[in-house]
């Protein structure tokens, strides 16, 4: 790994100042379980890292109909602490492995927006609000395709507010080695707002997380989802699975998620 300057600020303003003051490329470090491997393989060679774990951005609290989770909250702590949304706790308990969950963070996962990451599916299906040091985004506007988000260059996620649904569940077909989702589907039934109560988000299948609007419409109409097929045209095809295979998995994972709503 190429060397870099390491900053360990104690406040948001010091963190953004360190980022902005870097001569060259700066990167924020949280759990580091994506960034450090990328740096070891020299896919990333930042000149400075700004550690965000000393900013006090960890913790879980409920405020009305939202569950707020701090950006540097560990996956392991969401797995045990997000009891208001069992589907979200279950999702966190299935990220990576036990050791990864002791380091990886919610904010890191969402800011990275890996097209096969788990948390973006939860954020989208649970109509999350993503708060930053300078504003907030709705999940529908935040995720903008592969490794791309609405975050500005030095913007820092501070916390994420998930709408507490009536019921929700996440099912994923994991790649056996990487443990990322080949396909993951998060389904959530929210308190009725007109006829729209269901949100269905798919990760791993496309170039970024997306809502499966046909599935939402079918669920909202109370019709059978068994025959629903997602068009394979825009889905990923690689050495692990063809687009058609992933399209099929979307239906299977949605069925599994619907069978385990909690």
């Amino acid at each position: 790994m190429r060397d870099f300057a390491l900053h360990r600020p104690g406040s948001l303003s010091a963190a953004t100042a360190a980022f902005a003051g870097t001569d060259g490329e700066a990167a924020y470090l949280a759990g580091g379980h994506t960034l450090i491997p990328a740096m070891k393989s020299r896919l990333r060679m930042p000149d400075a890292l700004v550690d965000l774990t000393g900013l006090g951005l960890s913790g879980i609290s409920r405020d009305g109909d939202r569950l707020w989770i701090g950006a540097t909250t560990l996956h392991a702590d969401v797995a045990t602490g997000a009891t208001a949304i069992p589907g979200l706790a279950c999702l966190a308990a299935g990220i990576g492995d036990a050791q990864v969950r002791n380091r990886g963070t919610l904010g890191g996962s969402i800011a990275n927006n890996d097209p096969a990451a788990d948390y973006p599916a939860a954020a989208l299906a649970l109509a999350a609000v993503i708060e930053t040091d300078r504003g907030s985004f709705g999940a529908d506007d935040f995720f903008q395709g592969m490794f791309t988000t609405a975050l500005a260059e030095s913007e820092i996620i501070t916390r994420v507010g998930f709408a507490i649904p009536q019921q929700s569940s996440y099912a994923k077909f994991r790649h056996p080695a990487s443990r990322y989702a080949m396909v993951g589907v998060y389904v959530a039934r929210h308190a009725a707002q007109g006829s729209n109560t269901w949100r269905v988000a798919v990760t791993g299948a496309g170039t970024g997380v997306f809502r499966w609007t046909d599935a939402e419409a079918a669920l909202n109409a109370g019709s059978d989802t068994a025959g629903l097929v997602l068009a394979a045209d825009d889905l990923n095809s690689d050495i692990h699975a063809s687009a058609e295979y992933r399209a099929h998995l979307c239906g299977v994972m949605m069925k599994q998620a619907l069978a385990t709503l909690a």
Binding site: M1, R2, D3, F4, A5, L6, R8, L29, G32, H33, I36, P37, M39, K40, L49, D51, T53, A76, G96, D97, A98, Q99, V100, N102, R103, A177, R179
Partner: protein, 158 residues
């Protein structure tokens, strides 16, 4: 950069580049070679150490990030004269063959006890071992060792 690390209860002052991984400091600077580097890609768990009691992969953490925390390596768990119950269980259950993955496996067992207590089922252990790879044993005796080691920790604490 200058950093102070607390390893197995002892403070160490270390001078190393910021890019130095925790496992590199442990092995190359402090001579604590019980922590192994297997895959170096966060997959195999051979480099597991405990940070404030929680198992993490020392190949995917900067040494500087361990400042202020209690780091426990396999050397800090037991000694050759007085093995930790989890280590003793690996010996008795023949939970190893070549032994390369063993320090990480023992630490994974410690993590399971921290999270789930001392009564572990083989099914739970099998599931929780997903972050550790062994290329010799087929895992059967490793699972037996962790179940027995956890139970022995209960006895020890009783």
């Amino acid at each position: 950069m200058q950093m102070t690390l607390t390893i197995n209860g002892q403070d160490h002052s270390v001078e190393a580049p910021a890019a130095t991984l925790l496992v590199e400091v442990l092995r190359d600077q402090l001579g604590l070679t019980g922590t192994h580097i297997g895959c170096d890609t966060s997959q195999c768990g051979a480099c597991n150490v405990l940070i404030d009691g929680a198992a993490v992969k020392a190949c995917t953490m900067l040494a500087a990030q361990a400042q202020g925390a209690q780091v426990t390596t396999i050397e800090g768990l037991g000694s050759t004269d007085a093995l930790h119950p989890m280590q003793q269980a690996f010996r008795e259950a023949h939970g190893l063959q070549c032994g390369f993955c063993t320090p990480g496996m023992v630490m994974a067992g410690m993590e399971m006890v921290r999270k789930h207590g001392t009564t572990l089922t083989p099914e739970l252990v099998t599931h929780e071992l997903e972050g550790n790879l062994c290329r010799c044993t087929g895992y059967i005796n490793i699972v037996k060792a962790i179940v027995a080691g956890a139970a022995a920790m209960e006895t020890q604490n009783a």
